[in-house]
Amino acid sequence: MSQQFTPNNPLPQEAKVPPKMAVFPPEVEAEIERHLAKYPVKRSAILPLMFIVQRERGGYLDPPGVAYLADRLGVRITDIWEVATFYSMINTEPVGRYHFQICRTLSCKILGAGKITEQCTKRLGIKPGETNDDGTFSLSEVECLGSCGTAPMMQIGFDYYENLTTEKVDELIEKCKSGELSNGVR
């Protein structure tokens, strides 16, 4: 039977069920409180809170994480999506545990960024924009990260790796595989 949408019954019933909301441990809640306390307007804390939520939810904003943010900030779910989709560091889809972000902009490019990307593609078996099958690695090309004087460079999570060579890339990948290297997410 087809459903009738009328002004009095505008949405299918299941859409009215609030999405499941993420729950965080007290120390994460305290961290969130510290950010909220900085601003006269709660919504200002949206980006710092998104970073925390994506860290806690496996690297991206999943629907329960988004529901949590909307509730915590007193805004609509769409407001969260609106902001999340604007910023390149906010992930709306899962990313690998180690996210290699190679700078592709001019100073890095002329000093060999292309070779660094190639080496990563060769060793990881993924192209920029991809995540490998077991979810260990993602590879991205990103814009200037303020390391032009120490080019070429990349970030893994939030950590900087500068003056890169293909040998250094191999070393880093080995250390990721053995779990020795931090994934730079915090």
Partner: protein
Amino acid sequence: MFIGAIGCEPLQLRRVSLERSRTLDVYRRNGGYEALRKVLDGMSPDDVIGEVKKSALRGRGGAGFPTGMKWSFVPKDSPKARYVVCNADESEPGTFKDRYLMERDPHLLIEGMLIAGYALGARVNYIYTRGEYRYLIEIMDEALEEARTAGLLGDRVLGTDFNCEIYTHTGAGAYICGEETALLNSLEGLRGHPRMKPPFPAVAGLYGCPTVVNNVETLTAVPDIIKMGGDAYKALGTEKSGGTKLWSVSGHVARPGVYELPMGYDDMEKFIMEDCQGITNGRQLKAVIPGGSSVYIMPAEDIIGRDVRMDYEGLVAAGSMVGSGGFIVLDDTVDVFESTKNLTEFYKHESCGWCTPCREGTDWLVKVFKRIESGGGRPDDAQLLLDIVDNIEGKSFCPLGDAAAWPIQSAIKKFPEDFRRHISNGASGDGGKEGLPTA
């Protein structure tokens, strides 16, 4: 990488090479917080603004607006709160000076912001740092906590009745958030689209309140201006460009780095060939992009033997701009068609999508570049690029559109041969897939 001053005593870089330079202890033992003390010991807010005006300090974020004048636009009688917001978004390709200032001397920024807060009546202030600089936010947070514990921040600064708080804030990967009104939207928790001006932030900025947005390098110049006096600071540079300036040097030079030069440093050729120790691998200089990716490219002929003075007027006279001071050196292996394509891709990626000329124009430009590169060049393509650019420049909602246009205009004008070659044979200059040579 080199960090230091050439042609003057290091001012803003005075402490960066000291051991534990980021600690309060080292900062204080090297003249730190003396300017704040001087201000609180008897200067009025107007005295402070007066010194900054005298110093001829111009905004170091890229636009070069006189800082003292900007500060004096903040209405004195407004019943609203006032804010100082430090722009630490540093995303202009080729620019990395703010990073080292914050990494090595975070208390200098705190002191500069406290003095600005005092002058402008701002009690709560924010440092908007690009999201990728998370480690700098951590360094700043640590320094802020140190300052708070020492009574330099928060209630009753240095025991006076001046209250001032500073908080860090994070961006999340968007070049446009360096534009001051987009930054304020972002800080309010919105998408980082620019706002209509006027009203300018000095009148209606953060949360609709009077707000001064200043670059890290601008604010870190303030303590020395107070200590030595505006006139003495100005005398380090030229009449119209006071003080010293940091240049982020990258690309094909033997010694890249952050160089502090007096404004009016003479001259650019000497700077590249001697101070930066020349071009790597014995190659020839082909071009310089002196002020971050958004400024006009300068061919070697406009530099060698031309006594280009390194300050606002000198660079304009030489056909470019100081911009953010992101000094990108290109040797003769670089194909300017390819380098311009690389930067155009940057602007396309970073266009915030708010207005049509920039959103559609940058996308179209990249498509034309790609078509040419893949062998589909047409005789009138250079003109097509210039026409698209003409429909972006001056017709976009914010200066990002102009910033995308200028590199293309100047590249086609100064390096027509590089474009002609691609357009006529469609093959990339070095035959490689990457297009740009890889070292």
